[in-house]
């Protein structure tokens, strides 16, 4: 690793959880600047807990734990957000919210407005910038929230199931945005159930199921044996060629939202204890 650029994320021998028994153990991986790492595992594998751990919203116990710590240095695109569609803000105002971690109580200046405009441009929503956020389509809202994450100029971007529920146009736009971000040196950690998309943009893949199963180049990780090991309980459903099945895929998608909320509830309980 001595010749490689300094990693944005460097984690070794780590366990993540919410105060009780750890949810995910034996984690060790790095994410380099300009690199996208896929985070793959079945429902309940601890993917969201790992993301929460990186954000400091879940507990970790690790030999090495280095993640960006400055305000606004980590951007997040959650899988879903509970946002009131009637809330009176435009897309531009939502994206500008992404600047607040950097600004603190300072008022935004010209450079901040340019960064916001660039972020909107990067997700291809410039024509909709003055549209009320609640009036955008689901895919556009998701891209708008990505722009909000970009507005804080993150060194690390966490994308949680970013391709879920997107139409083909939004998927292509998102893939293109991810490639652009990589070329600008942003590090990305992307949870996804879509192994083809992982292959398309992710250089390396972290496979987990309550413990780390593999971390290596995407093509080496996404082999039948390893995916079988990760999705052990669903092995029968896995098609030898595509490694995903529709039945399993569907249940994953519907259950995932609840998983994130469970994480939130779990953390709240932990804080109140």
């Amino acid at each position: 690793m001595s010749t490689a650029p300094e990693a944005v994320v460097e984690i070794a021998d780590a366990a993540f959880g919410y105060g009780g028994a750890p949810v995910l153990t034996g984690v060790g991986f790095t994410v380099l600047p300009g690199e996208a790492v896929a985070l793959i595992g079945p429902n309940g594998a601890g993917k969201s807990t790992l993301l929460a751990g990186i954000l400091g919203l879940a507990e970790h116990d690790a030999r090495t734990f280095r993640v960006p710590e400055g305000r606004g240095e980590i951007g997040v695109l959650p899988q879903s957000s509970e946002i009131d569609p009637a809330f009176p803000v435009t897309l531009e105002q939502v994206v500008a919210m992404g600047r607040t971690p950097r600004l603190g109580l300072r008022w935004p200046g010209r450079s901040d407005r340019r960064i916001v405009a660039d972020a909107i441009e990067a997700v291809g929503l410039t024509p909709q910038r003055r549209t009320r956020f609640g009036d955008l389509s689901g895919g556009q809202r998701q891209r708008g929230l990505l722009a909000r994450a970009l507005a804080s100029e993150p060194r690390l971007l966490l994308l949680d199931e970013p391709f879920n529920g997107l139409d083909q146009g939004s998927r292509d736009a998102l893939l293109e945005t991810i490639r652009t971000l990589k070329s600008r040196g942003v590090a990305l950690l992307i949870t996804t159930h879509d192994l083809d998309l992982a292959r398309a943009v992710c250089d390396r893949t972290l496979l987990v199921n309550q413990q780390q199963i593999a971390f290596d180049d995407t093509d080496c990780v996404l082999t039948l044996e390893r995916v079988e090991a990760a999705f052990a309980s669903h092995v029968i459903e896995i098609d030898g060629h595509t490694l995903t099945t529709t039945a399993h895929h569907e249940s994953e998608h519907s259950a995932h939202h609840r998983l994130l909320q469970d994480d939130d509830a779990e953390r709240d309980r932990a804080q109140h204890r």
Binding site: I83, L145, D264
Partner: protein, 292 residues
């Protein structure tokens, strides 16, 4: 406008006398709070909490009046607001749903207030605390009230951007590293300051009306946030002035209407007009959208 002719003839002269000018100035200051602190309450859907806080202030007013007369109102209200805020925070921390917590605080403090008022003779009547003594506030009352409002408004304006983020998407704001709990606490403090400033002089009911009604009316009329804030301030100012003006007209007609309640009714009337106008606009826009 509701009372066009007389209003056009004589909208300002009644307020040349100090006992009408002081309440008008206070209502104008509260209108500014309505467009800022009230807007935050509306966006964070804290109406019920504001209600709880307002009613919690009520026994504080009663205790203050019993101990120190009119001069005791403000310290009493401030103390009660502090206690209520702490109790509210503790109750919701212990896992009570927020509405349950508010309902418990509301009932407790309210009952204590009624008992105190019925026990202490001469300190003031229930209706005094509900509807205030709008026309009898002194310059000192006014300046203290304006100062409290200014601090409350200042807190909200200074933190407006993170407050907006936290109101729009609390989970997202927390993930982005914003101190959401701190922002919420600060917002609640701002609401408490405005409620205290209002209730010591205009009564608890009008305090609640000021915090909630103009922002709700503005939301019915506008689509953008900036417009809503401006409209809420204008709404608070115009209905406050109309209410006071109605008090004067009624007094000249020989009717002794409770000033605080009259101003509150003016706000409610304005809100109904705003709702109707908003619905009408929505229908026109809907039709235009269908046509297009």
């Amino acid at each position: 406008m509701t009372a066009p002719l007389a209003l056009v003839l004589d909208p300002f002269t009644p307020f040349a006398v100090p006992f009408l000018l002081r309440p008008l100035l206070l209502l104008l200051a509260l209108a500014v709070a309505a467009g800022t602190v009230g807007m935050l309450v509306h966006l964070r859907r804290l109406e019920f909490s504001a209600d709880g806080l307002t009613h919690a202030v009520f026994p504080g007013l009663a205790i203050g009046a019993a101990l120190g007369g009119a001069a005791g109102l403000l310290p009493g209200a401030l103390g009660a607001a502090l206690v209520a805020a702490v109790v509210l925070a503790l109750l919701s921390r212990r896992g009570q749903p927020r509405d349950t917590a508010v309902a418990i605080v509301l009932t407790t403090f309210f009952s204590v207030g009624i008992v105190l008022v019925s026990l202490s003779e001469g300190a003031g009547s229930v209706s005094d605390f509900f509807f205030g003594r709008l026309l009898t506030i002194t310059w000192a009352d006014l300046w203290v009230g304006v100062a409290l409002v200014a601090v409350g408004v200042g807190l909200v304006v200074a933190t407006a951007r993170p407050q907006l983020f936290a109101a729009f998407d609390p989970a997202g704001a927390r993930r982005a590293g914003l101190p959401v709990l701190g922002l919420e606490t600060l917002g609640t403090v701002a609401v408490a300051l405005v409620v205290v400033a209002a209730s010591a002089s205009v009564g608890t009911l009008l305090a609640l009306a000021v915090v909630i009604v103009p922002a709700a009316a503005a939301r019915a009329l506008t689509r953008s946030l900036r417009a809503a804030a401006v409209v809420a301030v204008a709404f608070g100012a115009v209905t406050g002035w109309l209410g006071l003006w109605a008090v004067v007209q009624l007094a000249e007609a020989g009717v002794d209407a409770a000033p605080g309640a009259t101003v509150a009714l003016a706000m409610i009337a304005g809100y109904l007009v705003a709702l109707a106008a908003g619905a009408l606009r929505g229908r026109v826009r809907g039709r235009a959208a269908v046509a297009a």
